[in-house]
Symmetry: C2
Subunit: 390 residues, 2 copies
Amino acid sequence: MRRVAIVGVGHGKFGTRNDVNLAEMAWEAIKEALSDAGVTQKDIDYVVYGHAGGWSSEPMTPIVVNEYAGLYPKGALRVEAACATGTAAIKTGYDAVASGQADIVLVVGVEKMNESPTPTVVEFIGRAGNYFWEFENFGLTFPGYYALYASAYMARTGATEEDLCRVAVKNHYYASMNPKAHFPRKITIEDCLKSRYIAWPLKLYDSSPITDGAAAVVLASEEIARKLTDTPVWIKGVGYATDTANLSRRPDFKLRRASVEAARMAYKRAGIDPEAPHKQIDVAEIHDAFTIAEILTYEELGIAKPDEGYKLVREEQTMIGGVLPVNLSGGLKAKGHPIGATGVSMAVEITRQLRQEVEKGRQAPINNGVGLAHNVGGTGHYTYVVIYSL
Amino acid sequence: MRRVAIVGVGHGKFGTRNDVNLAEMAWEAIKEALSDAGVTQKDIDYVVYGHAGGWSSEPMTPIVVNEYAGLYPKGALRVEAACATGTAAIKTGYDAVASGQADIVLVVGVEKMNESPTPTVVEFIGRAGNYFWEFENFGLTFPGYYALYASAYMARTGATEEDLCRVAVKNHYYASMNPKAHFPRKITIEDCLKSRYIAWPLKLYDSSPITDGAAAVVLASEEIARKLTDTPVWIKGVGYATDTANLSRRPDFKLRRASVEAARMAYKRAGIDPEAPHKQIDVAEIHDAFTIAEILTYEELGIAKPDEGYKLVREEQTMIGGVLPVNLSGGLKAKGHPIGATGVSMAVEITRQLRQEVEKGRQAPINNGVGLAHNVGGTGHYTYVVIYSL
């Protein structure tokens, strides 16, 4: 198997992007990634698009962006795995280089969710659980799904709504130093606790926003990477798993099995000790679509023991200086969650953290040179985990 | 790079499948492919779904099928490249095995287009050219796009509507021997010439139908393939390219550049002489979404000289006994074109042809043990070409 590195990263401004169309927005990230890697469109062998789509009437995002960005006639495809789309695209690009089919692959994550009327966005995302049974019959959408997890968690562990809000406060704090974030501003526990309920116990400030955004990475084989950069960021291990469409077919509302399985696979491939991964990992980006999801993930990744994840955030152990800094970008919660772009944005953030080039105040101490990205689709329907290292 | 083989194939009945839901239809093909490979769900490392989707309100096809088919917690993703979706999925599965990330990958192509009201199907497919400019402003849908190519071709070469119809007659003739085909019956030149115009010079019988269907293949590494089967069918070379979204930005309405480029790449990787590929290739499946597309493809693949493709079908050179038998399955035209399933169906057909196990009367003579699949998305927006060999 060939080694594969990230040799260039690009990241557009996340937010409500009525100032650009989809291709223009994608190009912001692509241009920066090509420039960062020191390559041009001619050098690219294949383009993988992470894009959920469905927000507008234009279904051919890869082709429209390929044309606008001067990337045709390069081969391309679109990859989708619900909210884990971006990391599924990274994995697809990784395989293309690792296999020897391509030397340099561009991975583009892009989503323009605000093109769709808002009720349609909520419905569209809501369908990505199990449509025909749970959405159509019970009216479950994602705040509802995660409210089930949150209320079960609180009943089981004694965690409080305040503990959930601590995740939002932490992630907004770091977003306040990230100019690419959708909401680069701090909030207080009181702001969060006073925000309106979406689905008890989850409130507006427990929830990630509807965001437009794009991110891009250039992947290269070892031979090429050594020529292009002094700081390649290697993909050391990729893990992935799925779970049942119907939540009613899962054994409980405790840990999400796909998340546990994907982490185990990634750890095994990267040589990370699953009993204490935070002893080897310097920094992590975690799929905090809702605050409860970040707390569950601490446990699924083995950073906290089962039912004790909330203590990590209560004790500020996932801030800089704690056992493992998490979501120093602001996370989905405050950086934003443009579906297909999210996993690619995580790869950009981990790369910049490992290179120690993010804004002051949100730079993790880099000791082992190892970072983790954790990306979930649905309610643990898909999970992809990637270990990156210098 | 690890060698990768098809070790199992499965193919459901193509047609209007109101008798099954999407997961049940996918399972027909999956079950047959697993059984043919002599493996079970437990043996699968990763599942790649080729699925364009958008026909129903259920967006999570991979997860719903993974649950129904007992494939969870296996990792999965969805791949889309318009009508080339199926072969993009084959390429994605190939990379996963060739890279060493997986030993056994299941590739599932599935589409249930008849769940959507008919006007929506036509509109939905029509958007897959360039939506905002060409569809919205000029009302172009796919019969219109290919009518532009057909009328330019006829003006340039002297080919007639009768020549176009010959493609349909040939493909229906072979479909009549394929029980999995949507329309397993013969038609005459007169039937075709008398059928109503969709977009001059293309008539109903020049056009592929709206079809439900599923196909599946099991891919394995060389080590595993040698254990599982005496007749592995190797993926020898994959080629891919894209072209502009806007047809107005292409230099002419002659050959589709993405098709030419993809074939060149596949030939180079597989060691096929691009000047006379038919001397090495025994059998081909070609993307005959419209009859003109099959004729153009003869030229794009180098089987015919530019502007002489129509002579091949006029002289019956793409029937059994000619220079290269094409679409012995019935092709998109008569076997049907369930978008995501089409490329996977091509892989199933070529595998069965090379193993010499298709129905009598439509089995190609296998001399070199080499087959070709050619899959186009949009009007040459995407093209994927794969060379298979014993």
